[in-house]
């Protein structure tokens, strides 16, 4: 086997592992939405490598090789790029931590933009050199592109899966050491062929340096500088604060912190007379705290839990069987136990949280999650929506806890996160798992100006309207305190007695009633006063015929969310934003939700940067200033402008089409696999591995009967049909397998992805094969375009999904692929 192919697989695997690790590290040190922006831009290093190599390709790889068919110049360039990649994986991460960057000051200090630019540059270096290795190999072995691309995709697939598994075993910062080590292995493998010949000393030196470098990192692991403004940092400033435990997994890094000053009771009434029990804080990614309460089997000390908005439902159902979705540290489970329930099914996504509460701190937590729990609590590790779809039994009360932290909610940082829990389809699923008279209770942080609870109300109303025999106006109630609101959905009407209980509960705790059937307007907005009883008005409007006008006139997007557009936390409306900035000016800054705006900012920057990166080489290629025209026997084809533009169109289409489908499938399969880690790992790995197999098979297509003349058209045609078929096929298949075991769901997912990915892996090598035969000097440029398209389309796919839904993104992908096919067809 060609050692370079194995080397490319190792480096490609290392690059994707680096990308995934970087997202994790940034999410811990800063915030996820900034991670998304900075890493997306840094990924343009891929495109830059294509640009740089296309400008100096002849000089970089030399003429056709003198020995082994491999040029000495190519060998040296590849080795140097590989070494610079591995060193920069660690070096650039360490270096970027010295850049003075405080994203929270971005709105106040425009100079922070310079820091961001510095971060882009620093973090793009590893991607530049890593991608340069693959691009150089592509140039050198263009005749074998199907095999090379197979190794590239195979390595990426294994790298993606490997790093996610590894994150369970070692902390994310240590992953960098492993990634660098894999990169070094890639360089060594490439040098393997020369080990016994003229480069013995060089190879030995590389191996020695690698051993020392990796050895040093093993004993001096890289530390992550966490922003001082994250919750963990703030808490550790308390004089008695100490970290008791640390856990890590792809779902996040958990820190358990002890401090007497930790007190978390979201939605606590201002009139409570009960003291709060001591707590331990569990921080996920140094923020988003959930609390473990010092329970020690004394329910009488938990009186304060009865004074939260989410406790209302316990006054309306007798001794219920309760399902708590998002159990976290156990606050909602304790609330249930305090109110004397029959049983509690507690569902939590992160098994390490359950382990910390149920084992590590079981005594402190009163053994509520322990296997030998004296309470009727059963713990389930699952994602909320997946659990409810698979649940066989019905519940008297389904509690949906506050799953996000108050700070993240306020900053709008979840704007890019999809949630399949707050959608029309999800509410229907939940409703169908209620016993007659049962209640769903959903609690959310309140935002100013109001939008969360209003969208939740709208989503619920439209969900209930889709169920036969349900009259939403009779089955809903909404209350609010000063920070939280709770929506109740009853399977049955709220009777007069229920209404009296709601009024009494709220009056005793100074909570406001926002809606219940036949509620008089005078009851709204009494204790926690807003300038306008907006929650009451909104509920009335949504239940009336004027609903659409209300949605249109509201300054935020509060339309119901669906499984196709599951962005519950994305409230921004651009027309309102412009109006807000016009009328409020600079003071609008605190009200802006940054997640979506940063996405748009990222897209604009990426488009501009990409245009520069793509047009620069075109300018020189046209002038014939690159070395290819005069210095190299392999680049003798004349420059033809029309073919250049077709190359641009074709490879841009492939990059965009591939990423649109891949991104949409990751999001869609989240619904089936019910776990973000599984979804990313399975979908990414399956796509890359089967696309790799498609690549391996691609050139055989040129030898099959009628397909011989138009293999690309055939591949694109088949994949388009499959993608369109899946639009119809996936919902019933998901519905059929949602309740199945994880293993079966993974097998089904792979089985669905495999044929589509197989054909998606063909067009790229077929295009490179054509270029190699007709316009070989454009190969590096094509690589750059494809890399650029992958970055931009990943961002664009999220923008489009938020605006139009994932089905539209898939349709667009098919359209883009077909355009690419037409371009190729005309060229071929």
């Amino acid at each position: 086997m060609n050692p370079y192919f194995l080397s490319v697989a190792l480096i490609a695997g290392s690059i994707i592992a680096y990308e995934i690790t970087l997202v994790r590290l940034f999410s811990i040190a800063q915030w996820h939405h900034f991670a998304h922006m900075i890493i997306s831009l840094a990924l343009l290093g891929f495109s830059a490598s294509g640009t740089a190599i296309s400008l100096a390709q002849s000089w970089l790889i030399g003429d056709w090789g003198e020995s082994d068919g491999v040029g000495q110049r190519f060998h040296k360039t590849y080795t140097i790029c590989g070494l610079l990649y591995t060193i920069s994986v660690v070096g650039c991460f360490v270096l970027h931590q010295y850049v003075p960057f405080n994203p929270l000051m971005l709105v106040w200090q425009p100079s922070q933009a310079l820091s961001i630019f510095a971060l882009y540059l620093i973090l793009s270096v590893p991607f530049f050199f890593g991608a340069a290795c693959i691009c150089l190999a592509l140039l050198q072995f263009a005749g074998n592109v199907n095999r090379l691309y197979f190794f590239d995709l195979f390595g990426s697939g294994i790298g993606a899966l490997g790093v996610i598994v590894t994150m369970y075993l070692i902390p994310p910062a240590h992953c960098l050491t492993l990634i660098a080590a894999i990169g070094f292995c890639g360089v060594l493998v490439a040098n393997w062929g020369s080990w016994r010949t003229q480069h013995r000393r060089l190879s030995a030196s590389i191996a020695g340096c690698a051993a020392v470098f990796i050895g040093y990192l093993l004993f001096n692991p890289i530390s992550i500088k966490i922003s001082p403004y994250k919750g963990l940092s703030s808490t550790l400033n308390f004089p008695d604060a100490q970290i008791l435990n640390e856990r890590h997994s792809p779902l996040g890094v958990l820190h358990v912190v002890h401090s007497d000053l930790i007190r978390m009771v979201p939605g606590l009434s201002l009139t409570t007379q009960h003291p709060i029990q001591p707590q331990l804080g569990i921080f996920t990614d140094a923020d988003a705290m959930t609390a473990i309460t010092d329970f020690r089997n004394d329910l009488s000390k938990l009186g304060y839990l009865g004074d939260t908005t989410s406790a209302l439902a316990y006054h309306l159902v007798e001794s219920p069987r309760v399902l708590v979705l998002g159990a976290g540290g156990g606050g909602d489970v304790l609330t249930a136990l305090y109110h004397g329930v029959t049983s509690v099914d507690a569902v939590e996504l992160n098994p390490q949280v359950l382990e910390l509460v149920g084992q590590e701190h079981a005594d402190f937590a009163g053994h509520i999650y322990a296997p030998d729990s004296p309470y009727p609590v059963k713990v389930h590790v699952a994602e909320a929506r997946g659990f409810i779809r698979g649940a066989q039994q019905q519940y008297d009360l389904i509690q949906i806890a506050l799953l996000d932290s108050v700070s993240a909610s306020a900053a709008g940082t979840h704007a890019l996160s999809e949630s399949y829990l707050y959608t029309v389809e999800s509410i229907i699923d939940l409703y169908q798992h209620l016993t007659p008279g049962g209640i769903i209770s959903i609690t959310r942080w309140l935002k100013t100006p109001p939008r969360d609870m209003i969208r939740l109300f709208a989503t619920t109303v439209e969900a209930l309207e889709g169920i036969d025999g349900v009259i939403p106006a009779q089955q809903l109630a909404m209350i609010r305190g000063w920070r939280t609101g709770t929506l109740l959905i009853k399977r049955g009407d709220f009777a007069v007695a229920d209404r009296a209980k709601i009024q009494d509960f709220c009056n005793r705790r100074s909570f406001d009633v926002a809606y219940y059937p036949q509620m008089p307007a005078a009851e709204a907005n009494r204790y926690n006063q807003l300038g306008d009883p907006i929650y009451f008005r909104a509920a009335q409007a949504i239940l009336s015929d004027n609903r659409q006008q209300f949605y249109d006139g509201y300054p935020f997007n509060i339309r119901p969310t669906t499984d196709n557009r599951p962005y519950f936390f994305q409230f921004l409306r651009f027309d309102s934003l412009i109006q807000m900035i016009r009328t409020v000016g600079r003071s609008a800054i605190p009200f802006i939700e940054w997640g979506y705006l940063l996405l748009i900012a990222t897209l604009i920057q990426a488009v501009l940067a990409g245009l520069v990166l793509i047009l620069i080489p075109l300018f020189f290629l046209k002038r014939g200033d690159t070395f290819h025209a005069t210095h190299n026997s392999r680049f003798t084809a004349p420059f033809r402008e029309s073919e250049t533009w077709r190359t641009f169109g074709y490879f841009l289409s492939l990059g965009v089409g591939f990423m649109f489908i891949e991104m949409s499938f990751i999001h869609k399969f989240l619904l089936l696999l019910a776990n973000p880690t599984y979804a990313v790992a399975v979908v990414l790995c399956a796509f890359l591995l089967f696309a790799g197999l498609g690549s391996l098979f691609s050139l055989k297509l040129t030898k099959i009967g009628r397909l011989r003349r138009h293999p690309t058209a055939a591949a694109i045609g088949i994949l388009s049909v499959l993608a369109l078929l899946y639009l119809q096929l996936l919902p019933p298949v998901f519905h059929r397998f949602l309740a199945s075991s994880d293993l079966l769901k993974i097998i089904v997912s792979i089985g669905l992805i495999a044929p589509l990915a197989f054909f998606m892996g063909m067009p790229f090598p077929l295009g490179i094969d054509w270029l190699q035969k007709h316009q070989p000097h454009l190969i590096a440029w094509a690589w750059g375009i494809n890399g650029y398209a992958s970055v931009v389309s990943a961002i664009l796919a999220t923008c489009l999904a938020i605006a139009f839904g994932f089905n539209t993104v898939i349709l667009l992908a098919v359209g883009v692929y077909l355009i690419g096919g037409c371009v190729y067809f005309r060229t071929g």
Binding site: Y229, S407, P449, Y527
Partner: protein, 240 residues
């Protein structure tokens, strides 16, 4: 061509280097009050401060003494600033707006939870009889105490401790100000508030105050809150 590029680049660099002259903090402070706080002077949609005593206090307190040396030049700019230990000194406007909401009187006794740099306490000290302020971070509390003493604020008492339980010894208070937004309001603070008293909490994070919650204890002892935006959103939501 290449030379002219370097000359142009050097010029660009030079025009960005500030010429260091002695800062005129007095003028800066007056300008800050006039353009960022005073209802008569502000031009954007924020709700200006009308209480003349509060405006005068903002003119008197030397804000630049409460920020780290390296940030003194930005002390009167319309923005919050970091003061270390993950804490910030609030945007001047927010300090003034919160102070006005408390309706401070010369005879009042005020409790502040979260001393930080001591700036809010100094502004309050200009307006009320006595300010009691609690800071959990020892280093911040001690430096604020020294700073306030040095600047002559004899009517401010600083305690290092947990503000969650208030300061029972000096209760009840006419007003309480909590400078960091918790997820709930500590019940004991409400117990230490006089009937008719006010408690103010900013909501929305250190660098982005979105709303202020004003808690009022009626003469009868019942509790009510009002969500107040420091910005007029009338054209958008009908709220005020």
């Amino acid at each position: 061509m290449r030379h002219s590029f370097f000359i142009f680049a050097t010029f660009l660099l030079l025009i960005n280097i500030p010429l260091h002259s002695a800062p005129d903090f007095d003028s800066d402070r007056k300008w800050m009050v006039k353009t960022q706080i005073d209802a008569k002077g502000i031009t954007d949609a924020r709700i200006g401060v009308k209480n003349q005593a509060v405006l005068e206090a903002m003119r008197r307190v030397l804000r630049h003494e409460f920020v780290p040396d390296r940030l003194k030049s930005q002390a009167y700019v319309d923005m919050p600033l970091p003061i270390g230990y993950d804490q910030t000194i609030s945007q001047p406007y927010i300090v003034a707006y919160m102070t006005e909401l408390l309706d401070p009187k010369k005879e009042h006794k005020v409790l502040e939870v979260g001393t930080g740099s001591g700036y809010q306490a100094a502004v309050l000290a200009e307006l009320v009889d006595h300010v009691y302020t609690i800071e959990i971070i020892k280093e911040l509390g001690e430096s604020a105490e020294k700073r306030l003493k040095r600047l002559g604020y004899e009517n401010v008492t600083v305690k290092i401790g947990d503000g969650y339980f208030g300061w029972e010894e000096h209760a009840p208070y006419d007003a309480i100000i909590v400078t960091a937004a918790p997820d709930h309001i500590p019940p004991l603070l409400l117990h230490q508030l006089k009937p008719g008293g006010k408690l103010c909490i900013p909501v929305g994070g250190r660098f982005r105050v979105q709303t202020l919650t004003l808690v009022q204890k009626t003469e009868a002892g019942s509790i009510m809150t009002r969500q107040l935006m420091p910005v007029r959103f009338v054209p958008l939501t009908g709220e005020h």
